[in-house]
Symmetry: D2
Subunit: 346 residues, 4 copies
C-alpha cells in the first residue's frame, strides 16, 4: 500500500512535534517533510533528541512542505495560515490548520477576539471545523479543516449530549478549566519558567480567553440557540492534560438517570470517548499521551446542578491526536488509524 | 514577660506539626508539650528532622498536654475532640479545635454530614467559630474555639463583602476549589501516592464534601438568608495552597466599580487579606508558608458574572496560622503576633 | 498468524501493569490472563481506568494464568517465584521473572543480600539472565528468564564497552543513580507520600541496595575480574526514569576519542541504545515511556576521569520493555516487536 | 536601637529578592534601598506580589543604593561588581558580593574560568571569602566580602572535617551535586521552561562548571595541598535545594567511628550545621527556606569509601542566608540574627 505523504509546517512547536510523533507511527502516512523558521536547516532529531533513530528529516521551508506533500498540517501563530491554506486548496491537497484562523464562522468574532480581518472570506467558507464526534459527517472529502482548540474540545464533548437535548439552562453554564503547561507552547515566558510555575496555581485570562467564541459557536449550534458562556482557564503545574469542570442547572424533569442515558447513547459507539461509570471521576492522568476523552457525571441534588468533569490530553485529543483523526476521516482511512496507543498508567 | 504555655495534641499530623513550627517561633508562647498516639515516646525532631536543633520535646500522651498547658490545640480525627475540650474548659484553659467537631451550630448538620451526634450539646453552645476577619469580636475571652476549615476560609473571605451587601444572587453561586496535597493529611492513601498524584488532576467528593455545611453556615449568616452552595474540590499536585474560583451572578446595579469598593472597604485594614489591584490574579505561590489571603476580582461583563479568585495556604491561613491568630485574639495578644513571616517568592 | 498467549502474574503492580499495556499492543502476543492477590475478581480496567475500552480481562488467580498461557510473566515480591517458575518450566512454557529471585548466579549472594536460600538450585541453573544487548545469544529457546533490575540495566549498558576493553580501573568506579518514584512500586510508604516526596530529594539505601550484587555480577563478567562497586541510589520526584552518573579513572592511553570509538562500535547496530553525539547530555525526559537507553560520554581531562550518563525508563527498558524484548528473543520474534513506540517529547 | 541601613543591587533576581525577604525581617537591619535595571522605577511588590503589604520600596538605580546605605549587597552578573565594590569600600561601607567576581584568589583562575581579567587587583586582595563555619575569624571588620557559591558551600561544609584531618585521598574525590531550578536564576531559558524541566533530570556542564576552581581553592586550603576535583552538577525539577553526594576513599586507619568523631567535633557548636544521627539521610526537603546545612555520613565498608550527603537551600545557606550571616559577622551582630526561621516540614 502506498502511504500518504504528509508534512508539518511549524514542526518544532509542541503541537507540531506531537504531530510528527504520531505521523511517524501512522500505518498509512509517511512524514515526508517538516519546516521551521527558527530551526531552519537543522535536523528535527537535533532539536528533539527523543526522535534520534526514528526520524532523519531536516527542517526546511514552508514551501517545501507544501510542494512535497499530499497532506499538510499547519501549526502556526495566529494570522499566518491563510496563504498556506490557499496554496494547498488550490493544489488539491488537504490542509489541516492547527490554529484559530479558520475556526470561527463569523468574521466579526475573529475581528473582535483576534483583532484581524479575513483576507479571503471565500476560503474561510470552505473550511470545515471538526470535533469528529460532533461533526464527523462533514469531514470526508474536505480540503481545508479547522482543527479545534484544546479547551473547546474538552468542553464541547463534555456538554454535547445535554446541549442537544436542551436538558439544562444555557445561561447557567459555568466553565472552570485547568490546563497543563504544554498548552502554553514552547515559547519562553515568566509564567511557565519552572520556579514560577512549579508549586503554583492560578487562573489566567479570566473571562477573556480567545477560545470563548469558539466554545459559544459549537455549543450554540448544539443547543439550537446562541449562548454566552463564562469560561475561566487555569494553569496547572503538570505537562499535559486539560480537565474542564462544567456546571449547569438542570431543567425540570431531567433526573440524573435521564441525563446519564443521554451520554450513554451519545458515546456508546465512540472509539475515543469514555463515559465513566458512576462513582469514578475523570482524571487527566488516565488519558495522558492518548486521543481519549474521559467524562464523568456528577449531580448536586441539593442545588439542582449537573456537574461534568471532562478530561483530555491537550496535546492529544486537544491538538495533534484530533488532527490525525480528522485527517483519517478526510482521507477515508479508519478513523482510529495511528491513534490507538494505550495511555500509560503512570 | 512570662510566656503562655501551649501544647498540641496530635502534633505529628500536618496541621499539628505546622502549629508546632509557628508556636516555636511565637514571641509570647512557649511550646510546652506535644502528644501523638502513633509516635508516643519518640522525640518530635526524630519524626520531623526539620526541627533538629529547634525543639527537644518528646511526644507524650494527651492528658499530659492538657495538664501542663494553658492553651491546648487539638488536631484530631473527627469525633474525638469533645472529652478533651470539656476537660480544658472545665479547667479554665483555652482549647482550640482544629477539626470539625465544633464548627457546625446545628447538630442536625453534624449528624447528616458526619454521621455522629453531639454528646454534650451545652459544650457546643460555648464554642466560638472564628474566621477572625469575619468573627473577630466574638473571640476575646473565649475558652473553646472552633478553628475553621481550609476550604471555608478561602471561600468565605472571598465572598464576605458581596454576601453582606447581597450584591449577587446566592442561588447562582458555584464554588470550584483546588487544594494542595497536604490538605489530605499525612495518612497514606493511593490518591496521594506520588506516582498516582504527580502529573494528575481531578475533582473529588464532588458536591458531597463535608465542608459544605460549614460554608453554607458562614455564608448564610453573612447573606442574611439560608443558601445552598455547589462546592467541588479538586486535588492539585502541589504541596500547599488552596485556590477557590467563585462564580456569582451580580444583581442589577452592581457594577465592577461598586463591587470592588465593597472589597476595598472590607479589607483595607486587615493585616492578612490583600485585595490585589486590577490586572493581577491571585496565585497560591504568592501566599505559601504564610497566613495571608490574596483575593483578585474579575468580571465577566458579557455574562454578568462576578468571578473571585481567593488564595490561601491551606496549612497557614487554612489551618495552623488561623488557629494562632485566634489564640492571639482570645488571649488579648497582638493579632499578628508570630504570624508575620514574609512569604517566599519561590 | 496465531498469536502467543501470554499472561501476567501480579498484574496490578506497576511493572505488571506496564507489561499489560505493552502486551495489549504487541503484534504477536495476546494478553490472555492476568492475576492479582489484592484485586482478585475485579476487572483490570476497574483498577486502572486508563485501560477502559482496551482490556476486559478479570483478575484471576496465579494458577489460571499458568494454565491458560504459553508465556508467563511473574511480577512478584522477592521469594515467591520459584514454585511458579518450576510449574511453567515443567509444562514447557516460557517463564519470565521480573523480580530478583533468579538474577544472582551465586546462591551465597542471594543469601547475603536477600536473607533467603534457593529451594531448587537446579532450577536456578536453568535461568538465563539477560540484558539483551549484552546477553542476546543466550536467550533463544530459553524457558526461564531472569529479567534484570532497573538500576543494573542503566549501569551495565553505560559501562559495558569500557568494561570489556578494561579501559578503566574497576576499583575507581563510583555509581550515583537517581530513580523516579514508580521504581518504588505501588505500595504505600511515607517516602513516596506526595507531600513528603514532592520538592524533596535524597539518597537512600546508601551503599547497601540489593541491586549491588547484580551490578557486580554483570560488570565482573564483562571486565573479566571480580569487582566491588560503590552504588548510591537517590529518589527523584518524577514518575519515571533512571539516570545513572558513572565515574571511572581511565587507564593510561585511553583518550576520549578511543573511548568514544568503543561505544560507537558496541552500540551502532543496537535498536534501543543511542550513543548521543558530543555536546548532548542524556536526560530521562528523552526516553520516558520507551525501551530506549540514551548514553552520553563526558571526560574530565583535568582529573583523568570518564563520566558516563546513562538514562532509561525504569518501567520500560528497566522492567516491562526489557521483559518483552527478552520474550521476543526467546520466541524467535523480531526483537523490536511491540517496542518501537516513539517517546513523547514532553 | 538604630538599625543598619542596607540595600540590594539587583533586587529582582532570585538571590536579590531572597535577600530582601530576609532583610525585611532582620531585627537590626532596615532595607532602605533596592535597585534593578530591568524594573527601574517600579515598586518591588509589583514585581513580586508576595511582598504586598510588607515593602513599599521602589526600584531605583545602583548609585542610589550605594549612597543611601551603610551595607550594600550586589547581586549582579559576572564582571560587573568591581566598580560598585570600589565605591563602597572607598566610602567606608560594607559591600557583600553575591557573585563570583571576588571569590577566586588567583586571577589566573578567574581568567581561565570566566575569561576576564581583574581591573583592580588591589581591591581583590582586600576581599574576604567566607563560608562562616570555615572562615569566621576573617570576617569581623571586613569591608568587602565575597559570598560563596551555592555548590561550593554544600560541598565544602560536607568535606571540611575530613579534609582538615587528611583522612581521605583527595585524588579519589568525586562530587555529584543536584540543584533545584532557582539556582539557574530568573532568566528565561529552554532547560528551565516548565514542560522541558518538569519530569526531566540530567547533568549539565559536566566537569566544566565555573564553581570548580572555587571548590578546589577552599578544599585545597583545608587539605593543605592543591587538588583537582571531579564535579558534576545536575538539574533537579524542584524549586529549591542542593544535595551533594560526595565520594572519597578513606586512608588506612580511618574507621567510620573516627570519621564521625571528626564531624561531631567540627560541628557540635555550629548554629546552622546539623550532623544527622546514624541511620538518617540528608534530604533537601528538611532544610528548604532555611540557612541550615544537613549532613549525613555513610560508609561503603566493602569498597572502603566514605559517602557524605550534604543538603542546603541554594537560596538560603547557598546564597542570601549566608550573605546575611556574613553581614552579621562583619557588623559584630549576633551571627544568627534574622536567620533562625524554622524550616517548614512540607
Amino acid at each position: 500500500m502506498k502511504k500518504w505523504k504528509v508534512g508539518v509546517i511549524g514542526a518544532t512547536g509542541y503541537a507540531g512535534l506531537e504531530l510528527c510523533r504520531l505521523l511517524l507511527a501512522h500505518p498509512e502516512a509517511e512524514l515526508a517533510a517538516v519546516s521551521s523558521v527558527t530551526y531552519l536547516g537543522q535536523r528535527l532529531d537535533g532539536v528533539y533528541p527523543q526522535l534520534r533513530g526514528f526520524c532523519d528529516l531536516t527542517l526546511g521551508e514552508e514551501a517545501q512542505v507544501v510542494e512535497s506533500c499530499q497532506v499538510v498540517f499547519g501549526s502556526l501563530p495566529a494570522g499566518l495560515s491563510e496563504p498556506i491554506a490557499r496554496r494547498c486548496v488550490q493544489a488539491g491537497k488537504l490542509y489541516i490548520d492547527m490554529g484559530a484562523d479558520f475556526r470561527l464562522k463569523e468574521e466579526a468574532d475573529y475581528r473582535q477576539w483576534y483583532g484581524k480581518a479575513y483576507a479571503d472570506p471565500a476560503l474561510h467558507a470552505q473550511a470545515v471545523y471538526s470535533i469528529p464526534e460532533l461533526h464527523r459527517q462533514l469531514v470526508p472529502g474536505a480540503k481545508l479543516i479547522a482543527n479545534p482548540g484544546c479547551y473547546p474540545t474538552s468542553i464541547c464533548l463534555g456538554l454535547a449530549p445535554v446541549a442537544r437535548a436542551d436538558a439544562a439552562q444555557p445561561g447557567s453554564l459555568v466553565i472552570d478549566s485547568k490546563s497543563g503547561t504544554t498548552g502554553a507552547g514552547r515559547g519562553l515566558a515568566l509564567n511557565t519558567h519552572h520556579p514560577e510555575c512549579n508549586e503554583a496555581f492560578a487562573p489566567y485570562k479570566v473571562a477573556c480567553h480567545r477560545h470563548t467564541p469558539e466554545i459559544e459557536q459549537v455549543l450554540g449550534e448544539l443547543w439550537g440557540q446562541p449562548l454566552t458562556v463564562t469560561f475561566v482557564p487555569h494553569l496547572l503545574p503538570v505537562n499535559r492534560g486539560i480537565l474542564s469542570t462544567l456546571y449547569l442547572s438542570l431543567r425540570p424533569g431531567w433526573t440524573p438517570e435521564r441525563v446519564r442515558a443521554l451520554y450513554e447513547e451519545a458515546y456508546a459507539q465512540e472509539p475515543f470517548v469514555r463515559l465513566l461509570p458512576e462513582g469514578e471521576v475523570a482524571n487527566i492522568k488516565n488519558i495522558k499521551y492518548s486521543n481519549l476523552c474521559h467524562i464523568s457525571l456528577h449531580f448536586d441534588r441539593r442545588a439542582g446542578r449537573l456537574i461534568v468533569a471532562s478530561a483530555i490530553d491537550n496535546m492529544g485529543k486537544g491538538a495533534a491526536g484530533q488532527a490525525v483523526q480528522n485527517m483519517n476521516l478526510a482521507l477515508g482511512l479508519a478513523e482510529t488509524a495511528g491513534l490507538m496507543a494505550l495511555p500509560p498508567a503512570f
